[in-house]
Symmetry: C2
Subunit: 241 residues, 2 copies
């Protein structure tokens, strides 16, 4: 069944209007008609069964029926990732949504080529991935910040899993074993790696937890997916109930 992320409040009996793009998708792409059902969520009110109301050429209304799942939040896990090339960054955002990251923070490093990206486009990718993966929140995408500023303001109570391909570090599962699952973040560098000065600054953070992702050189997207998977398996909701 189609799942749609909406901005509006959801409650039994409410009538809500999807965005023009969503209406186009429902009416013209998926060809839903009045009476057809779908699922909707907004990140606050849980998931609801909705019914297509009156359908126009490019607009439609949705009648909110019954709640199917109460709101729940996943682990408090941020992905901090250097700006990499567009296609790989989009993959990373899609996969971060599938793997349950709560927030994606973009970061500019010395070896980052770009300083800008289309945050709105990444947010749309995150929303679409959240719709498909079945989760009840959409990860927020934070606009690019400089690495130095990010480190200077790093909160002491949020451990930072630092995937350090240049230095000696214990295997990820070893480094994470026995840790608590509270607020955490995963840090992934650019394709060229962090500079020596950046590495020293990161390792100097009391919250830093350096880990190894194995003997091979991983592309940034592979490293991000592997690191999020290992964190979720060690401390998050891939551990099982």
């Amino acid at each position: 069944m189609i799942r749609l992320y909406l901005a509006e409040d959801l409650a039994a009996g409410a009538a809500v209007a999807p965005s023009p793009e969503q209406a186009h998708y429902l009416v013209n792409v998926m060809r839903l008609a009045a009476g057809d059902e779908l699922l909707v969520f907004n990140g606050r009110d849980g998931e609801w069964r909705a019914k297509m109301g009156a359908v126009g050429k490019r607009i439609c209304r949705l009648e909110i029926a019954a709640q199917t799942r109460p709101q729940a939040t996943g682990p408090d896990l941020d992905l901090v990732v250097a700006l990499v090339k567009r296609a790989r960054l989009e993959t990373i955002v899609e996969k971060a949504a599938e793997l349950g990251a709560r927030r994606v923070r973009l970061v500019v490093t010395e070896r980052t080529n770009a300083e800008r990206t289309r945050v709105d486009r990444l947010a749309a990718i995150a929303a679409e991935a959240a719709e498909q993966t079945g989760r009840l929140e959409v990860p927020a995408i934070e606009p690019p910040a400089k690495l130095a500023a990010l480190l200077a303001a790093w909160p002491a109570d949020r451990p930072l899993m630092f995937c350090d391909e240049a230095g000696a570090a214990p295997p990820a599962l070893t480094a994470l074993a026995g840790r608590a699952g509270g607020p955490w973040a995963v840090l992934i560098g650019p394709e060229g790696g962090f500079s020596p000065g950046e590495r020293a600054a990161i390792r100097g953070l009391p919250a830093a937890v350096p880990v190894s992702l194995g003997p091979r050189i991983l592309r940034a997207d592979t490293a991000a997916i592997a690191a999020l998977t290992l964190w979720q398996a060690a401390l998050g909701d891939l551990r099982g109930a």
Copy 2:
């Protein structure tokens, strides 16, 4: 430094000719000149430092100098993956190479749309990823086989990590804990999942080890990367030395 996968035998003092595509890449794309150095491997003789010899417009020779790493083989890990759409299948092959799979076996299932794929193109992607990731072998790509035939011939001594999104299964790390790291395979289904009959047939294999990849629905490429990562972290070379 550039790393190149070659078919020919490698030994100190040998002179070898890269393929026309590789020569074009070295000469015209990367603009290497006579005397420039690169690394080469063939999956049998380890990794060698090589020097560009005579350079023509579209051809070049490589002079093999000294061995930099002896041949080593990674874990005996197959990825068995349903044919999915081309872009995601190419991602899966690239990531399987980065994550140390030794072989990718393509499989046709009831809910697989395609029955064919360009195996030669996937093999080229695997070789390029192996070059970049620093490993000494290129994963073999096996042409598509029917799932029923694959299961009928499944060897009893190769456990099959079955990522079952439809049924109850223990978390992957729980299911893998305490197992030996010998021959293994990871099985990833098509985007629509396996049919009920296929699931029963897989679970009926004595070698099947059903696992869960968590509470969210993962796309096939995400599931493949997550499963290979968790296997390597539990039983393979992401465990550390």
